[in-house]
Every structure is written in structure tokens, then in C-alpha cells.
């Protein structure tokens, strides 16, 4: 199994003409003619399962895609759908999937303009390609964090990972809290209300799809800086707090678990005055990521993604 970074290095960057449009294949989006583009694929048995409710699969497809654009301060506007229908798909599944799909397009004011559909005897594979107008002079990159920047996240962290763990490992937990966390994993809640804040105030940004530390590490290495974050300041939902009280060994895993689709961004002080924004640390000259607890003891230092 090839890691995505290796894949991009060996097969995408190598051999192709490097242009400003691709942002060197190192960011969440590409930019052509003042439009930002992104695409994500989700596949049966990896990102969803044949017994999942098709309604949640449709929403997941739309939202993991939206997430990339809004994390760059861009409002998603248009999309194309590649629908490779597998053998477990029947008419009821299609009816349910597409009712939810069109509902969510409407939710996000997204315009489906085209696509392609094929029918296979294999697993279902769904891709969405999504784009929207860049309203500012520049796109907010991963590489443009400043030394003086503070680090912020939107929403709460860890819900999706805990939800996924509860679902996959059938962990026992309070029924209502369990359902809430599993739903956060199945249906991400990208923070479209922060698009303007990101566009106008952030210096660097990304969405949190591969885990807080991994995505922060992308900002650090591309900005040639380090980061220090305070574990206790990471925003956690009541359900996650409750879960961590019972399952303390999951505490650090909320840092590396993915699927939250929140926004991680850096910028000047004061951005946490906005609703759903929490300050979690600061950029540093010293490379690597240092995580400190309330008493500033190092919990985990010098993070690099080779930890995975």
C-alpha cells in the first residue's frame, strides 16, 4: 500500500510540467483562472460500507469535498459526479442516495453540472470534483504560516475518530452519546460559516482530514516552522470528554485520528473571538510539533509523520 505523499512524489510530480495551478500538488486545492478546484474519492469497504445508510454516504461524499474548499476560504459552487455503481447497489439504494445527495447539494447551494456513471460488478466508487470562485487576491496556502501566528481549529476535535472506533470495535458507551459520535463520523459537518474569516484573516490553513497532528505537520513543514500546541485547549465535545473519562487510552489518539473535516488555520491573535473557533497553540521557530499539557509538561514532542 503506497502512501499518498510517496504516490504524489513518484507518480504525479515526476514527469509533469510544474505550474502555479497545481500549487505544487502540496495543498488542498488547485487554482485556475480565479477558481479553486478539489476532488475526493470515497470507496465501499474503505470510506463506507454496503450496510451503511445511503443517505449518510451521499452526505459524506459532498462534505469531504466541500471541506477542502472551505478550508481555503472558498465557497464551493459547482461539482461533477463520477458514479461507479457496484454490485450491492439496487434501486432502493439509488433512490435514497440521490434524494439525500440533492438535498445536501441544496444545503450547500452547490450546483451539479455534470458527471459520468458506470455500472460494475465490483465495489461502489464515488468521486466528486468541486470548484468555486476565489474571491480574494490570493488563496490561503498551507505554506504561508508566519512565525508570530497563533494556531486555531474550528468545531471540536476527535468526535469522528471516536465515533469510528466505537462503530468498528463495538465499544460499549452511553447510547445517545454513542449515536451522536458515530453520526459525526458518518456525516462530517464542515464549517461553511468560517469561509469569510479564513479568506480575510488566516495566513495558512488546511482541513483536518488526516488527523490534527498530521495536517498541522503539513502546515509546519511547508511553512518551514514548528508548532507548540496545548493539549488541554483542544476543543472537545461533551461526548468526547465523557468518552475519554472512561477510555483514557484514547486521549492521544484524538490527535492522530482523522475524519473530523474541521479547519486548522493560523493567523493573528483574536480570531478565537469567532463562534466555533478555538486557539490551540502557536507557531514556533523550532521545527517539529511540541504538545504541552496544562502544566506545560511535554506530552509528545518532535512529531513527524514518520510516527505513523
Amino acid at each position: 500500500m503506497l502512501k499518498e505523499t510517496e504516490f504524489i512524489k513518484n507518480y504525479i510530480k515526476k514527469g509533469t510540467k510544474q505550474t502555479k495551478h497545481s500549487l505544487n500538488f502540496e495543498d488542498d486545492v488547485a487554482v485556475v483562472n480565479n477558481f479553486a478546484y478539489s476532488t475526493d474519492t470515497i470507496s465501499e469497504d474503505i470510506h463506507f460500507f454496503s450496510d451503511d445508510d445511503p443517505k449518510t454516504i451521499a452526505k459524506k461524499l459532498i462534505r469531504v469535498n466541500i471541506s477542502d474548499l472551505i478550508s481555503k476560504g472558498v465557497k464551493p459552487k459547482f461539482c461533477l459526479l463520477n458514479f461507479s455503481s457496484g454490485k450491492s447497489i439496487n434501486q432502493r439504494w439509488l433512490d435514497s442516495f440521490f434524494r439525500s445527495f440533492h438535498q445536501d447539494l441544496k444545503n450547500y447551494n452547490l450546483n451539479l453540472i455534470g458527471g459520468d456513471t458506470i455500472s460494475t460488478k465490483n465495489k461502489t466508487v464515488l468521486s466528486l470534483t468541486i470548484f468555486g470562485p476565489v474571491k480574494s487576491k490570493r488563496i490561503i496556502k498551507r505554506s504561508s504560516a508566519k512565525l508570530s501566528d497563533l494556531i486555531y481549529v474550528s468545531g471540536t476535535i476527535g468526535d469522528a475518530f471516536i465515533g469510528m472506533s466505537i462503530k468498528k470495535k463495538q465499544i460499549k458507551f452511553d447510547k445517545r452519546a454513542k449515536e451522536k459520535l458515530i453520526l459525526k463520523y458518518l456525516v462530517p459537518q464542515p464549517q461553511t460559516n468560517l469561509i469569510n474569516l479564513i479568506r480575510n484573516k488566516a495566513n495558512a490553513s488546511t482541513d483536518i482530514s488526516d488527523g490534527l497532528l498530521n495536517d498541522l505537520n503539513n502546515i509546519c513543514t511547508m511553512s518551514k516552522l514548528g508548532a507548540e500546541i496545548q493539549f488541554s485547549s483542544i476543543p472537545k465535545s461533551n461526548e468526547v470528554i465523557k468518552f475519554l473519562n472512561s477510555y483514557k487510552r484514547y486521549e492521544k489518539s484524538i490527535l492522530i485520528g482523522g475524519d473530523d473535516y474541521q479547519i486548522l488555520f493560523t493567523g493573528p491573535k483574536g480570531l478565537d473571538k469567532h463562534k466555533n473557533v478555538t486557539k490551540i497553540g502557536r507557531m514556533t521557530r523550532k521545527k517539529g510539533i511540541k504538545i504541552i499539557d496544562k502544566n506545560f509538561n511535554t506530552l509528545l514532542g518532535g512529531f513527524t509523520h514518520s510516527l505513523y
Copy 2:
């Protein structure tokens, strides 16, 4: 197995906001802000096989996508790749696929700007989303054929279908001719040299991906006209002529076999003065498609796609 037209009617059009951008999901491309967009998916076991040369698969992926844009008189410029790597993919496959992929991007002056890659234990599924600037005031549609229009095709017809039949059914045939036809099936040759002609002179156009009759039928129904084509005037390669001499029962199948990725277009007389363009018939007031041979006897009349 759901037919694409049914799928579009039931699941794409229904429920979504109809906008001018999608061209009502009835054409080869969508248009946003003077860019035309198209996307196509090819899948292992349907459009290619695990023992096919990865070099030809890469080219097929690019060319079936290019074909949609050039048939509308648009030069493809940018693309995004969704690479869902299946279990039969190894490093040698990837090396070979991507060497050929980047070579063909260069051939067509196409700029890869982004994408997504996932690794599965299933079959390989490849999507490309492709776009380019619309240089004219309007896009050439399927629906805008005029009653006085003549009907033209680019290149030769039937090579890909005969090539596929030879390959799949292991039909015996002259070795060199056989290889040439199979290659036409594996690696389509879209006629980029005709982009300007289409843009400046055609009234209606489409690419021939689902067979000459099927794609002509799309132009007819959407233009609310019929067509009369002369079988003997359909351009055939020497290899196809030779093949049909031995296997006469395949004669009509070149009209309904797909995968040629040539351009089918209508316009005023004289467009067949261009290299690689052949006049094959004319639009008619009478609905349906009438096919006449040299002696103007009806070979096949009143074609509608319910024939499939």
C-alpha cells in the same frame, strides 16, 4: 443494469436545480464561466483488463476524456485525476502507467492540476475531469442541427469495434491488420486538428463514443429532426474494408459499435474539404434515421435507441 439515459433522468435531473451550466445534462460537456467541463470514468473489467498494457490504459483514460471537449470545438487544457488503485496494481504497473500518462498529457498539452488517490483491494477505477476555455461566443450543442445541414464524421468508423471484437472473440484475421485494429480500440485517436473547424463551422456536434447511430440519434432527437445517411459513404479504414470482406455479418455492427471517439457533426456543405472529414448524409424533417446504400435502398430505417 441501469441505462445511462434512465439514470440521468431518474437520479440526476430529478431533484437538482436546472441551470444553464449543465446544458440540461444532455450534452457532452458542461459550461461555467467560459470553460467547458467533462468527466469520464474507466474501470477494470469493463473498459480495460488487468492484463492490458498499462501504457494503453493511461492513453485511453486521457483520450476518451479529450474526445468530449474537442467534439465541442474546445481545446482541453486542465485535468484532475481520481486514481482508485485496485489489487492487481503493482509498482511496475504504476511506473509504466504514469510514464505513458505524462507523455500523453504532454502530447495534448494538458496540465494535470490535482487529483485524489486511494488504494483498494478491489478493481482499479480511473476518472479524469477535464476542462478548457470556450473561445467562441457559444458552445456547439447536440441540439442545434439545422434542417439544411449535412452530416459529417472525422476519421474512420468501426475500427475500434472491429478491433474489440477481434480481441474479445479471438477472430482470425491478417496479423498486421488485426494489430492495427486492436490498437485503435485500445488507444483512441481523437482529432484535435478539427477543433477550429468544429468551433467555427459546425452547427451541432458530439463525439462517437456509443456508436455512430446512437450518437447521431442524440443529435436528431435533441435537434427535433431526422437524418438520412448513406452507408457506402461512411469512411472505413483499409483494415475494416478487408475485415468486412471476410466477415460480412459485421457490416451493420460498425454503425452501432462504440469506442471510435471520432467527431460526428452537422453544418453547411463543403466542410468535407478538410482532411479527415467525410460527408455521410443530411438532416431531414422526417424523424428517425434512415440508412440508404449506394442504390438508395433502405438498409435500416426508423432507428431509435430503443433498438438496444
